[in-house]
């Protein structure tokens, strides 16, 4: 069993395009569904709030670790949004790393999230609840949509 998540995905777009989508705070916000307060700066905390339907009550908080242009971008965070009522300062965050490589047809992105061995049990339970809440919200959205269109 591994304590990390690894993903690899290829894009039909140049490295510079993918780099911008990852590290420009407005572009990042577009696809990640988060409204960030300002640009990413290595060593500094990035703040904002989640805009994903059903999770709008959650804050975004991450500390940027590294920005190596068109190669590597990483930050630490507490996975998947932060409940403003909870103090996370004593919990060890996980590390998210994006690595970019030029390929024949575009760009290869390698994503790693590691450090899950330090995530406390109650945080995992919260994730289950939030996950469930997300689905409940999605079902509600669908129901409303169907109700309006029928």
């Amino acid at each position: 069993m591994s304590d990390r998540i690894e993903k690899r995905i290829e894009f039909k777009a140049p490295v510079s395009r993918v780099w911008r989508a990852l590290t420009d705070y407005r572009e990042f916000g577009e696809w990640f569904h988060v409204k960030l307060d300002g640009p990413f700066v290595p060593g500094q905390m990035s703040t904002g709030h989640i805009t994903y339907p059903g999770y709008e009550h959650l804050k975004w908080e991450a500390v940027v670790v590294k920005m190596e242009p068109e190669k590597a971008f990483s930050f630490t965070w507490h996975p998947y949004g932060i409940d403003p009522k909870v103090d996370y300062s004593k919990e060890t965050p996980t590390l998210v790393e994006f690595k970019l490589e030029k390929t024949e047809n575009g760009t290869l992105l390698l994503l790693t999230e590691s450090g899950f061995d330090k995530v406390p049990a109650h945080r995992r339970e919260e994730a289950f609840r939030m996950n469930d809440g997300g689905w409940t919200q999605q079902m509600k959205n669908i129901e409303e949509h169907v109700a309006h269109t029928s």
Partner: protein, 97 residues
């Protein structure tokens, strides 16, 4: 939890216990090169993260596998993994459009 499982002896113990049967220390020591004390120490580590439960049958201690903590972590990683799949799917659309 990951640290507890990151050891060959403990993995072997878990593999043996995962059949669901409960075992005594003697049974677990018999097919190992290690001493009773060493096996006991490893069992304590597994017990401390909740993967192994110790029960007493008379004067004998028996050890049993407890799958729930592993299931919980796996489900949690599945959720985070799925959220990344969705986010990266949106990123793909975003940069390719």
């Amino acid at each position: 939890m990951f640290a507890a499982l990151g050891d060959q002896t403990r993995l072997t113990l878990v593999a043996k216990l995962s059949g669901g049967e409960s075992y005594s220390i003697s049974q677990l020591t018999s097919d190992s090169q290690l001493t009773r004390q060493a096996i006991t120490k490893h069992l304590r580590v597994l017990e401390s993260v909740g993967i192994v439960r110790c029960t007493r049958a008379g004067r004998e201690r028996r050890f049993k596998f407890e799958p729930q903590p592993i299931t919980d972590i796996r489900e949690y990683l599945d959720i985070v993994s799925r959220q990344w799949d969705e986010a990266l799917g949106r990123l793909k659309k975003f940069v390719e459009e």
